[in-house]
């Protein structure tokens, strides 16, 4: 009963006019970044980070989450109309969505994708609000040693299962932790590695790091490409009637919707996996159980509903480990943790104990943003899709100007702007050499907690602080995660021989 009160309070908190206004500003931003291929959700989150400085927790996080939650809704439109996924997780939608557009059924595909995305997002949130109270007693039994190993496991897991080879991911994670060691040491307050620079007394900042790693490399690619991404495809044949037919198709295939959304939410809960995995798993599951499996790939509407339902449902699932354990369920969530840090919050066991109301509020933000985005896109998709005709030469410098202004505005420090480019060079190198960038940002964000909990654990329990049941289980999972890729490779080789 108490939890239901919390849910209704969370809903009422989100319905504040300022939060609704913030969401109304964030949603078009997220949709645009979703629609234009090459501008990922991570870039959108990185660009928005400077703007949450000085905000209250809920409005600040609402700005980030609302834009992040609708990225894939926007991305589905370019996947269908252009055959180019707006964001990588929309790739599965291309398989059937693009043939539908070529057959003159683009409106139907768009309607189905948008309705499935919107409702899938709401489904993911329902999973989140159902799981959070169950997790609460578990996370409350965690002490400082468990929290230390949990944070370490977060960085390690996202390095293992993220994009690129595991070894490079681990280097990135360790580098992120190392970069966060500059500035005041958390337990002794000694300024560490400042090299006489006032700027380094506070250490490197999350905003230049996030923008450098995730926005600058994309701007270089966009600027180098120059041309618009929409070389093919047409939005002229899309009618409102067709879009509504597509929307209705989701209710006709309600069981497929529930199955695919469940897959998305469950895959989203597994730390670091989400991303591109869940839509393809949902697509494969839909095809396997379909009576019309032979028409998949030729414009079957089920092939649009399945990946799009799971795409948005996984974000609700991804919030579960992010809020409860401080381990991001997806790469976007790793960057969202940076937002928590800026607002002085630390997701994890303590967060759930002290800020359950905020957790519920965030779930509501995701649900409302998904519904609003679906409505906006159903009405305006045809016009918004024209953004894909913008040339890279126009988009790149305009976004760069926003980045420079936003970075300066966050702390009024011109050195932050310089560091955007310094970390931009690092981000570009990492992207080119296939180093995953998410572990770096996550390592950077979690270092303060990792180091503080290590010190507290050593002081409270001595050098054998890890000899506690839950700690040993987490260590076991961590070791298993590290050796599993090589074990599975050997098993595959053994089977092949």
């Amino acid at each position: 009963m108490e939890y239901f009160t919390l849910l209704s309070e969370g809903f009422l908190r989100v319905m504040r006019p300022d939060i609704i206004l913030i969401m109304l500003a964030a949603i078009p931003f997220g949709l645009i970044f979703g629609i234009v291929p090459g501008l990922s959700g991570l870039t959108a989150l990185a660009i928005l980070l400077p703007f949450i400085y000085g905000m209250e927790a809920l409005p600040g996080l609402a700005l980030l989450l609302a834009s992040h939650a609708v990225i894939y809704t926007g991305g589905s439109v370019s996947a269908i109309i252009l055959g180019i996924p707006g964001s990588p997780p929309n790739a599965a939608t291309v398989v059937d969505g693009y043939p539908m557009a070529q057959q003159g059924r683009g409106g139907q595909a768009m309607g189905a994708a948008l309705m499935a995305s919107g409702l899938g997002g709401v489904f993911g949130v329902l999973v989140l609000v159902a799981i959070l109270p169950v997790l609460e007693p578990i996370v409350l039994s965690f002490g400082s040693p468990e929290t230390f190993f949990l944070a370490l496991m977060g960085v390690t897991f996202i390095a293992i299962v993220g994009e690129g080879p595991m070894q490079k991911g681990l280097i990135a994670g360790a580098l992120g932790i190392f970069l966060a060691l500059f500035g005041y040491q958390p337990t002794t307050s000694v300024p560490r590695f400042h090299f006489g620079s006032d700027y380094l007394l506070d250490g490197f900042r999350i905003i230049p790091l996030a923008l450098g790693l995730f926005a600058v490399p994309e701007l270089i690619a966009l600027s180098a490409k120059g041309k618009s991404v929409a070389q093919t495809g047409s939005i002229s044949g899309v009618t409102f009637g067709q879009v509504m037919e597509g929307c209705a198709a989701v209710f006709k295939h309600w069981w497929l919707f529930i199955k695919s959304s469940t897959i998305g939410a469950v895959v989203g809960i597994v730390p670091g996996v989400g991303g591109e995995t869940s839509p393809f798993v949902a697509y494969a599951a839909a095809k396997q159980s379909s009576r019309t499996a032979s028409t998949y790939g030729q414009g079957n509407i089920e092939g649009v509903i399945a990946p799009e339902s799971s795409n948005n449902a996984k974000e609700g699932g991804a919030l579960v480990p992010t809020l409860a354990f401080g381990i991001p369920g997806s790469t976007g969530m790793a960057l969202l943790l940076g937002g928590f840090l800026i607002l002085g919050l630390e997701p994890g066991p303590e967060f759930l104990k002290e800020h359950m109301d905020l957790g519920v509020g965030l779930a509501m933000v995701v649900a409302i943003a998904n519904v609003m985005a679906a409505i906006v896109m159903i009405l305006l998709a045809k016009y918004i899709a024209r953004l894909t005709y913008l040339r890279g030469h126009i988009l790149a410098p305009l976004l760069l100007a926003i980045i420079v202004l936003g970075t300066y505005a966050s702390k009024n420090n011109p050195m932050d702007v310089v560091y955007v480019f310094v970390f931009g060079a690092l981000g570009y190198l990492m992207k080119e050499l296939n180093y995953s960038r998410a572990p770096l940002i996550l390592g950077f964000v979690l270092t303060n907690a990792i180091e503080s909990y290590l010190h507290i654990s050593l002081r409270s329990f001595g050098p054998t602080f890890f000899m506690r049941p839950i700690s040993l289980i987490i260590i076991g999972l961590l070791v298993l995660g590290l050796v599993w890729p090589s074990i599975s490779r050997r098993l595959r080789r053994g089977r092949g021989a």
Binding site: F193, A401, N434
Partner: protein
């Protein structure tokens, strides 16, 4: 790309050794301050050294999608040109201030990349309006609007 595969881990090793060395021998931090940097530094150097050896041997890692392409002279020149154009915003805002520097930078960028005068001027004026009304008036950011960082 092979050179870059060697350069990045090598740079990480040098950077880590320099920072940890400075903490240990120049600043003489206590063990309480240096315990964690020693641990993380050792892990980072170990992983990077392992990668460095693999890169020198030309070994491809599991999970690497395909052979990374060697950059050509043309692609390097294209990258340098693109990167320089983007970095040029720094001297523009430092010399001319944010309010004038950003629109002028955009105007130069658009014109140099073949956009029409109409498009270039409209977008630059739009940027000027956004900078002034959104950042200065609405968000009340104390932007240096005069040249050389003066308010």
């Amino acid at each position: 790309m092979k050179k870059l595969e060697i350069i990045l881990p090598a740079l990480i090793i040098v950077f880590t050794l320099f920072v940890v060395g400075a903490g240990a021998f120049y600043y003489n931090y206590s063990m309480a301050v240096m315990r964690f940097p020693y641990f993380v530094g050792a892990v980072l150097i170990g992983l990077s050294a392992w990668r460095l050896v693999q890169a020198i041997q030309g070994k491809r890692l599991p999970g690497e999608p395909e052979e990374l392409q060697e950059p050509t002279t043309e692609s390097m020149a294209e990258f340098t040109r693109t990167a320089l154009w983007l970095v040029a915003i720094l001297p523009a805002v430092w010399l001319l201030g944010y309010l004038v520097g950003i629109p002028l930078y955009l105007l130069a960028y658009f014109r140099a990349h073949g956009e029409s005068w109409l498009m270039s001027v409209s977008l630059s004026l739009g940027a000027l309006a956004v900078t002034y009304f959104v950042f200065i008036v609405f968000l009340r950011v104390n932007l240096p609007v005069m040249p050389l960082g003066f308010q």
